[in-house]
């Protein structure tokens, strides 16, 4: 008889709540919130309370499998690994190492992502390593890297409590980051003013002070509009602009045409409300901006993020307590996967692959020659596969068959691949296409670290054994690295991996398992004596002076037409998570939101004679899906919303893979669609 309460980190969103997994005789029986956790304060969302449900589900992959005569058949680990190594070696010999793409995972630990990118670079010889940040905050990384020199959340989650004004845009915080949303509610109860800018009404917008609804894809217009109002009314922080920024004149010129009238015509936001919002944000002493996919997932996403940075810099709301630019990162470890170098153009710690000095440093640290050319992003890899340039993919914990845009194109592209290996915890839609499937351990079955959206390094502690023969991804990556003939994969614990990662990643220099066991450390934490950094850009920006970027509004790549009259925007709901592999196997969550749906405005539904709950088909130039209509006034007329969690009505069948040229993030938030009675 053994009962344990194991303190670990939630595997769902990027907030990084800690809780105790209750384990009785090796079975997970429940979750208890951690009352002393600095980030969650003893609170959790419904997904957190169900975080144990999917772990010991009968669908868990338990044995390696190889596709034989079209069917996946159980094999030994040796057989599976031999096949992977054999195929990858063959393909490298025939087509070169850049014909292989490795996908790291925002669901894997920092240690695992570090090893996966090391394996790709040192063992395979390619920089083609990427992960799902490409789909969500890639434009944050590029945008803020330009503006500030660092792409991460500038302040911390607990600081929302004390903000006087919170500008929330492109984030349905109470549904997508409930515990960050809870902090905003605390601020609200203390008298803070909340401004929400979103095409959809959300639980937060309904209790906010100012709620603005813009047409999807018009964000630069309203942001520039706000900046112009702030400049014209003398509300700009002149001291800050003078001493801490550059290129102000270019910005001033760029925003000049964004009068409130022009903004109203472009975005649909009434001009008096825009003025009010701008004044409230500028005049508050402690104002924070929180944003997510609504800002990033556009064909000009990098520019939109730069516009947000402009707004914060023009008012000087950065570098101080309860201010800043705060991207809310989606996955439990998307921040860490970026930090650990799971990116085609960046080594661990955001050091550039094409920077000779950086490359020499890693070549020395890993004792091997490293490829020079930046690799392919996840989204352009699909195009390259279609063109026959990419021949193999090794995928860790990513279900792009549901999460990538334009699924029809993805399906066609991967048919051209000669080899696909997938390591996952369930037989996802992507794993179903693989030649080799490896059973992986999930968060509750291994030690390691996740990095939350506010840069805190959170600890995972093993609570139960993985099912069957499943193994943790760090052992899989090490095994692959060794079998591919590389040295530098001899690790006997995640702690050892972190020790190496810390030695080459300046921001993680002071991180080790002993220190983080008892305290919360946020990077940059360069040395063992350093106590971590809460607020970024306090004295100066990472790049020195903040760079204003003169960005201008550009419409989405696909706008409504006569045949496709609606703007389709996609997103999440509270109860399901991403491609649903975990939440749809959790009874309490599945029960709350079991079916796919499309939100359509009441007046639009009326003109199309569509009733609430009626079966409809939604189509775009790329495909068509059938699902139930939810008639609501939560979304503005002319737009429709579909959550992307449901495989049976995959929203991404319809979305447009129009990529932002700098970050390669797809325009998941705006494309053209039509809706018809089924």
């Amino acid at each position: 008889m053994s009962v344990k309460h194991v303190l670990t980190t939630c595997p769902y969103c990027g907030t990084g709540c800690n809780f105790f997994l209750q384990v009785a005789d090796g079975r997970l029986v429940g979750v208890v919130p951690c009352k002393t956790d600095e980030i969650s304060l003893g609170r959790l969302c419904i997904k957190g309370y169900s975080a144990h449900s999917f772990v010991q589900h009968p669908d868990r992959l338990t044995h390696p499998m190889i596709r034989k005569s079209g069917q996946l058949r159980q094999v030994t680990w040796d057989e599976a690994m031999d096949r992977i190594v054999g195929e990858v070696t063959r393909i490298i010999e025939k087509y070169g190492p850049d014909s292989v793409v490795v996908l790291a995972s925002a669901k894997c630990t920092n240690e695992e992502n570090y090893l996966i990118q090391k394996m790709a670079r040192a063992a395979i010889g390619t920089n083609n390593v990427d992960h799902c940040a490409r789909l969500c905050h890639a434009s944050t990384v590029t945008g803020l890297l330009y503006s500030f020199g660092s792409g991460a959340m500038t302040n911390t989650t607990p600081e929302f409590d004390n903000a006087e004004c919170i500008l929330v845009t492109g984030s349905n915080t109470l549904e997508a980051h409930p515990i960050v949303g809870a902090r905003m509610l605390r601020a609200l109860d203390k008298g803070a003013k909340i401004i929400v800018v979103d095409p959809r009404e959300s639980p937060l917008s309904r209790i906010s002070h100012i709620s603005l609804h813009q047409r999807p894809g018009t964000d630069i217009a309203w942001i520039n509009g706000m900046i112009k109002i702030i400049l014209d009314e003398g509300l700009a922080n002149e001291e800050f602009i003078k001493h801490r920024t550059s290129a102000f004149d270019e910005l001033k010129e760029a925003v000049n045409e964004y009068t409130p009238e022009y903004v109203e015509a472009t975005t649909g936001i009434p001009k008096e409300k825009l003025v009010e919002a701008a004044r409230v944000y500028a005049k508050s002493d402690k104002a924070m901006i929180a944003y997510a996919m609504g800002i990033t997932q556009h064909s000009n996403g990098t520019d939109v993020v730069k516009a947000i940075a402009n707004l914060a810099m023009v008012t000087g709301h950065i570098g101080r307590e309860s201010t800043g630019v705060n991207p809310l990162r989606g996955q439990c470890n998307v921040q860490g996967a970026c930090d650990a170098g799971g990116l085609p153009n960046l080594y661990p710690g955001y050091q550039r692959v094409d920077d000779q000095e950086a490359r020499m440093k890693f070549q020395k640290a890993w004792d091997t020659k490293l490829p020079e050319k930046p690799g392919l992003t996840l989204t352009s890899a699909m195009n390259e596969a279609m063109a026959g340039k990419v021949k193999a993919m090794i995928i860790f914990g990513e279900n792009f068959m549901l999460s990538d845009p334009d699924l029809g194109h993805v399906e066609e592209a991967i048919k051209k691949l000669e080899f696909i290996a997938v390591s996952d915890i369930f037989l996802s839609e992507t794993a179903q296409k693989a030649h080799v499937v490896l059973p992986a351990a999930c968060y509750a079955e291994k030690d390691g670290t996740f990095t939350s959206t506010d840069r805190a390094i959170r600890v995972l502690r093993k609570a139960v054994d993985p099912p069957g023969e499943a193994r943790s991804d760090w052992t899989i990556a090490c095994d692959l690295g060794k079998r591919l003939g590389s040295h530098g994969f001899d690790f006997s614990s995640p702690a050892e991996v972190m020790a190496e990662m810390a030695s080459v990643t300046p921001q993680y220099g002071g991180i080790d398992f002993e220190r983080i066991d008892k305290q919360v450390l946020r990077w940059p934490c360069p040395t063992k004596e350093h106590h971590g950094t809460r607020i970024l850009h306090a004295q100066k920006f990472t790049r020195g002076l903040g760079a204003f970027a003169p960005v201008r509004h550009a419409p989405p790549k696909e706008v409504p037409s006569e045949e496709y009259p609606f703007i389709l925007t996609t997103g999440r709901n509270l109860f399901q998570y991403h491609t649903g592999t975990m939440t749809r196997r959790s009874p309490k969550l599945e029960r709350e939101a079991p079916e796919p749906y499309v939100e359509i405005n009441k007046s639009d539904a009326k003109s199309l004679n569509i009733a609430d709950g009626e079966r409809v088909s939604v189509s775009s130039r790329r495909g068509s899906i059938a699902l139930k209509a939810r008639v609501t006034d939560r979304i503005i007329p002319g737009s429709i919303f579909i959550p992307f969690h449901y495989a049976e009505a995959a929203a991404n069948r319809l979305t447009n893979a129009a990529l932002d040229p700098i970050s390669n993030i797809p325009e998941l938030k705006a494309c053209a669609a039509k809706i018809e009675k089924a």
Binding site: L44, C45, G181, A182, L185, D517, Q519, L574, K588, R591
Partner: protein, 256 residues
Amino acid sequence: MAFDERAADHLLLMREEHGNVAPALVSKGEEIGDVRLDIPYQLITILETIYSWVPTGKIAVITRRCDEKALTELTKRGYVDEKRMVKIGLACSKEQIARCRCSDPVPSKVDFGEPNTPAPRDDLSDKLAQMSVEDRMKFWVRQFRKCNKCFACTHNCPVCFCDDCVLEERTFVAEQGIPPGLSFHMIRSYHLIDKCVECGECERSCPGEIPLLTLRKMLAKDIKEVYGFVPGDPKTVSPLNTTLEGEPMEDECDEC
């Protein structure tokens, strides 16, 4: 704290772990560690979850007065065998009493902590009682708009024991998204009216910091006024389980 006292085979307590305060079930022969009594967890709720996995032996639990009452409600309904339970009485500190606006803070036997006087009143209850019906509704609608159906209130409540919770059924909570409407909160309030021991765990674990404990207190006052009933007394039966003449009926909860 030691196993020898009161011949317990297992101890359910809070202790320091990894720089935090954690609940723990410690069995005889295992290290107890650094016990922490300043951050109380709702150990009775935790007991309910793990109880079936501890088939034998006596379990000693750190119980505040509210925990004692919760344990009584569970033993009355047969969920826990009281012969197996040993209570280690913890008297709450002044700060904890103030935070809970607690009117009954001292356990029947005090093993740890200093007994303190109850809080004189719950200011918010008084304020709400004096409001008009319309204003009261405005207050609660504003509060419940913050609810995002995390189910923390039910999950952490020691006297919420239904395996199939009615709040998960579309029949009773019709809203498909969040926030759920008033039916969620009213149904929960009704279900708890003869069981709530005012431990305050619901309020403390609510991400929206909705003053749930105040609503519980107001309804506790109501059931006392209407039926003279206070939960947590081993000798009394809920008025909802007796006829108008006081004869016992089937437990209302089994009706579900």
